[in-house]
Amino acid sequence: MEEDCKPLLSPVRRGSYTHTGSTDSLDRAVRRPFHVEPRNIVEDAASERVTAEAAVLSSRVHYYGRLSASADRLLSPPDHVIPCPEEIYVYSPLGTAFKVTGGDGVSKNPSIITIFAIWNTMMGTSILSIPWGIKQSGFTLGITILVLMGLLTLYCCLRVLKSPKSIPYIDTSDWEFPDVCKYYFGTFGQWSSLLFSMVSLIGAMVVYWVLMSNFLFNTGKFIHNYAYNVSISDTDFGTNGSNRVICPFPDTGGDGRNASGISALYQLSGGNSSYYGNSSYYSDYYYGNSSYNGNDTSDTDLFDRWWSKTNTIPFYLIILLLPLLNFRSASFFARFTFLGTISVVYLIILVTMKAVRLGFHLEFHWFDSSEFFFPEFRLLCPQLTGVLTLAFFIHNCIITLMKSNKHQENNVRDLSLAYLLVGLTYLYVGVLIFATFPSPPLSKDCIEPNFLDNFPSSDILVFVARTCLLFQMTTVYPLLGYLVRVQMMSQIFGKHYPGFFHVFTLNVVIVAAGVCMARFYPNIGSIIRYSGATCGLALVFVFPSLIHMISLRRRGELSWPSAFFHSLLIVLGVANVAGQFFM
């Protein structure tokens, strides 16, 4: 007797002799709902609700479904057989019918929303390092590099966006860039794109830890000073007056600068450098002295000991953030993405207000450096390119972001507009901070990798900015941790949540990296430029160019100028990384 319970067809491994479908057991193609025949067959409907072919296919599909197990792909209708979305209706047993409104279940957004989403995703903490980057490379060269890097990364992003479409014979509608790398380069491509993507994510998480420690420190200090009515006039070297700008590390600011603060002080009192501002900054400087009201020096010392930016706060953050990292799903944190937008907008307003109050201080020395200014072209420019690579980095998720664009033919235009907006934002913030940095008393060298550090902790506007950013980062940090966890766990163990122990170990490793960096090397400029250049090497410069050249070659359309240009891109990417280490 035959076994009636067993499906009649054994599942067949599709792969060796068919070119359709993937050998992946997960059904990643989105199956559209197919119409259910109307049960009411009595009435002679005047108009056919579905075509006869669709009706027949429906009954065929029902029958085939009974012949094979439900999870089996052997007799599931291939995509070229299912009628187009215009012919698909969904019937309810009560008699109403509605059309499936096109698409694969992904909601389609108008262009403006897509542009905004891309802008929002790209705007990260690297905006805080742009003034420092411009300082490191020189004003003119910095602006030029910003524009050029924006264009270069835009071109590479377009290459990434178009790469799945040039793959023949395979349905790549749900592929992301790592899948494309896997197609062209095998498992090496898959693992290396994953690795470099991890570099960018973990680099961002380390930067977040350093910044969060910084902001938490300053917030706590502000509250403490406000509560205890401690007025710290000038513990740090800086300008005087109501718009105070400080230089936290006068003799270690910037690489290779050896003017000490004291010598700068003496030069200041007799200096006659011209400046464009109209407030007088030559006043008494208290360098290294602190004047406090009252005699709670010991309490302040105690406070300073237990509330230190590098020694204790990174550890306090563990208590707050490590539990958040262990959440199973990150959808709760995804709701707070609007905080990022608010923070960036507030930063722009803040920068504008500071610029209005401080005025412009620009001097153009083309190739020589003066005591307050730098030449317009500096050899440290690779540092800016490293920062900008991470600032303009969205290549690992651009395909997914663009998929929800309603008019796909406008993808190139929308992406270019988004990059233009991002570039303008960075340019605005960077140029304004750099230009309005009060240079006669302070040298441009004092611009910190995190420009908010140049404002004292008693500044109200900046305090609000720091609190906003702190809160925003606390909600983005678990999201980033979730992304890292999902990608690593699914590659290594095959599922998103293999077990609490595995996930916890990963989180401890990431948090430990952040804490160590915050403790020993809290220079976010360096962290950003190293991680940016490294992940940009693979995902921005090398892989998109290589893939484009290979696909052109396979089609026989590779021309010499195109090959030269793309090889040049690869060389630039390598030079970018090399420059970080040597400059």
Binding site: E2, L8, L9, T18, Y63, R66, L75
Partner: protein, 315 residues
């Protein structure tokens, strides 16, 4: 005595992955007895057999590892397999990149058939046509058909193009079964008479095992050209569900204010479906008519039976 002499083989052959098992499942669902590896450990061939038309056994040959198969088994045991073959159905995958190899196997089969069963009917199915672009399908099929006709001489082969995703599979198998029923023209004329007598709108004759429509009569044009395939699939689904409950389907009546449909066992090989659009005729009348017609049609089949077996014994 006639039953054993009448048992003939239907060979379903083709390269591995060409779609034989899918076809077999779709057409012959629920009547499959697995007989795997009957021929020993050295040869990796999967065998199944299905009975249909009462006295025909469909022998499914799944040709696996090509070269070993051809070299060893095909030469040593071919007489056993290729004797008493009534029908050879050979399946070609239209997407196959090894056309030369396919033709080579096909010709080896034909040689064996010529030697052992020269009267066998040969059908060639060019399968998976849905993977070809619609505007090229006719052209590609015509090319293949010419090649196959040429290669099959002196045997005559009938070619069909099929895909499980459209009605061509169904039509091809219906045509094949149609040619296998011994007295099908006579059945058709009698069916028409029967339908006109009982004033039916449409009468369908299904083969018993597969529910393939082998003959039909309609008094006026119907709207849905795909109705045969739909009915076939629906009844096969229903039979599958019944068998899951260890029940077997025998007859069905569907009635509403506009029509009445009757599906019932007819002869030993067939089922009949009668559709009456006059609701005033009571069901009992139609059922009596069907029962009386059954006796008549069985006589038809039995009349030709002994003649056929006589021919058999003389061979």
């Amino acid at each position: 005595m006639s039953s054993t002499a009448m048992k003939k083989k239907v060979l379903l052959m083709g390269k591995s992955g060409s779609g034989k098992t899918s076809m077999r499942s779709i057409i012959f669902a629920n009547y499959i007895a697995r007989d795997t590896r009957r021929l020993g450990a050295t040869i990796d061939v999967e065998h199944s057999h299905v009975r249909f038309l009462g006295n025909l056994v469909l022998n499914l040959w799944d040709c696996g590892g090509q070269d070993t198969f051809m070299e060893n088994y095909f030469t040593s045991q071919r007489d056993n397999i290729f004797r008493n073959v009534e029908v050879l159905i050979y399946v070609f995958d239209v997407e196959s990149r090894e056309l030369e190899k396919d033709m080579h196997y096909y010709q080896s089969c034909l040689e064996a058939i010529l030697q052992n069963s020269p009267d066998a009917k040969v059908f060639c199915l060019v399968h998976k046509m849905d993977l070809v672009q619609e505007d090229q399908r006719d052209l590609i099929f015509k090319e293949r058909e010419e090649d196959l006709r040429r290669l099959s001489r002196p045997l005559a082969c009938t070619c069909f193009r099929t895909s499980i995703w459209d009605e061509t599979l169904y039509k091809a198998w219906s045509s094949i079964v149609y040619q296998l029923i011994p007295n099908v023209q006579q059945l058709e004329t009698n069916l028409r008479n029967f339908a006109q007598i009982i004033e039916a709108d449409e009468v369908l004759l299904f083969e018993r095992a597969t529910f393939l429509v082998i003959s039909h009569y309609q008094c006026k044009e119907q709207r849905d050209a795909h109705r045969f395939e739909k009915i076939s699939n629906i009844i096969k689904q229903f039979k599958l569900s019944c068998s899951k409950l260890a029940a077997s389907f025998q007859s069905m009546e569907v009635r509403n204010s506009n029509f009445a449909a009757f599906i019932d066992v007819f002869t030993s090989n067939t089922y009949v479906m009668v559709i009456m659009s006059d609701p005033s005729i009571p069901s009992a009348a139609t059922l009596i008519n069907i029962r009386n017609a059954r006796k008549h049609f069985e006589k038809l089949e039995r009349v030709d039976g002994p003649k056929h077996s006589l021919q058999m014994r003389m061979r």
